[in-house]
């Protein structure tokens, strides 16, 4: 994966494959503490403790189309390369939380990438799933909740092209704003 936004897309897609109706994505950047953390929390079917213990092994997957699962182990590697780690919590029937932390200024930390495109890819590709996105940077924050948008849009679907473009622009300008401080 070239950047963190692609990892986030990948982990969020895992949650959707696990039957989630809500995926919550949080990115926290704290340059004082020199930490960057990514949390992806889903309410999908979750993993039993014995499977969870093996979840970071690339040769373990729930998928039936191939026998190798790469997503979480790739993110673990990305985190480890930037002096961080990956934690996965899960319980059957309640969902899974994946949290990756990294040293913000680490020379090998992957760039965040385009979170606006990651969000619209998730929303457009999975119009029946709700997403929240909270991005904090040094005390500023941007948030998005598709449940609020859905309520506002009434019968207009979230994956309507004009709505998708609106979301892309809103996320891009929101992130720019919090980056400017």
């Amino acid at each position: 994966m070239e950047d963190l936004s692609l990892h986030i897309l990948d982990v969020a897609e895992n949650g959707i494959t696990a039957g989630a109706s809500l995926v919550r994505i949080t990115v926290e950047e704290d340059t004082q503490q020199d930490r960057l953390s990514i949390t992806v929390e889903d309410n999908g079917r979750g993993m039993a403790p014995d499977f969870l213990a093996k979840a970071l092994d690339p040769f373990v997957t729930t998928r039936t189309t191939r026998k190798v699962g790469m997503g979480l182990s790739l993110l673990q590697q990305t985190a480890a390369e930037a002096d961080g780690d990956l934690k996965v919590e899960s319980s059957p029937g309640r969902g899974t939380t994946v949290r990756a932390t990294m040293r913000h200024s680490h020379i090998d930390r992957k760039p965040l990438g385009d979170m606006a495109v990651t969000m619209i890819t998730l929303i457009e590709g999975n119009p029946d799933v709700d997403f929240t996105y909270l991005h904090r940077k040094d005390g500023n924050e941007f948030s998005l909740d598709t449940r609020d948008l859905r309520e506002e849009l009434e019968e207009v679907p979230l994956n309507n092209p004009a709505v998708i473009e609106f979301i892309r622009k809103s996320v891009a300008s929101g992130l720019k704003e919090i980056n400017a401080g």
Binding site: R63, I120, S143, P161, G174
Partner: protein, 128 residues
């Protein structure tokens, strides 16, 4: 705190509601971009951006763009499946933006599958 502008969203809702009344007809095609770990690492998100941009530029409202997971052919990613109304679905493999553009024009818009980029063509041959 940066937030989404509800005023702008309301405006979009009104415009799109008006268009939806006109749109009642059938869909022309559905494009599914395979978005497993393998697909994402190989550039599937960029392929989805490309289709989204073409659909937006041309103002098309009868094409569904969606995504799916890994299809088990990771070495062939990025992959898409194109389903044109009334035709069999076709899987395309090892895509880049030039191939995706051609598939959009020739298959999605004109209804002619692009055999060169399809997963397979032809039938099995049996030994005599």
């Amino acid at each position: 705190m940066a937030k989404i502008s509800i005023q702008d969203l309301k405006k979009i809702k009104e415009e799109q509601k008006a268009r939806m009344v006109l749109r009642e007809g059938a869909q022309r095609a559905k494009i599914t971009v395979h978005m497993g770990t393998c697909g994402i690492a190989a550039g599937a998100r960029d392929i989805m951006v490309l289709f989204r941009d073409i659909i937006g530029e041309r103002g098309l409202d009868d094409i569904i763009l969606t995504n799916s997971g890994c299809a088990g052919l990771c070495a062939q990613e990025p992959m898409i499946t194109v389903e044109v109304a009334g035709q069999s679905p076709i899987k395309y493999v090892k895509l880049d933006s030039a191939k995706a553009r051609r598939i959009f024009d020739e298959h999605v818009m004109a209804g002619n599958p692009v055999e060169d980029f399809a997963l397979a063509r032809g039938s099995e041959t049996t030994a005599q």
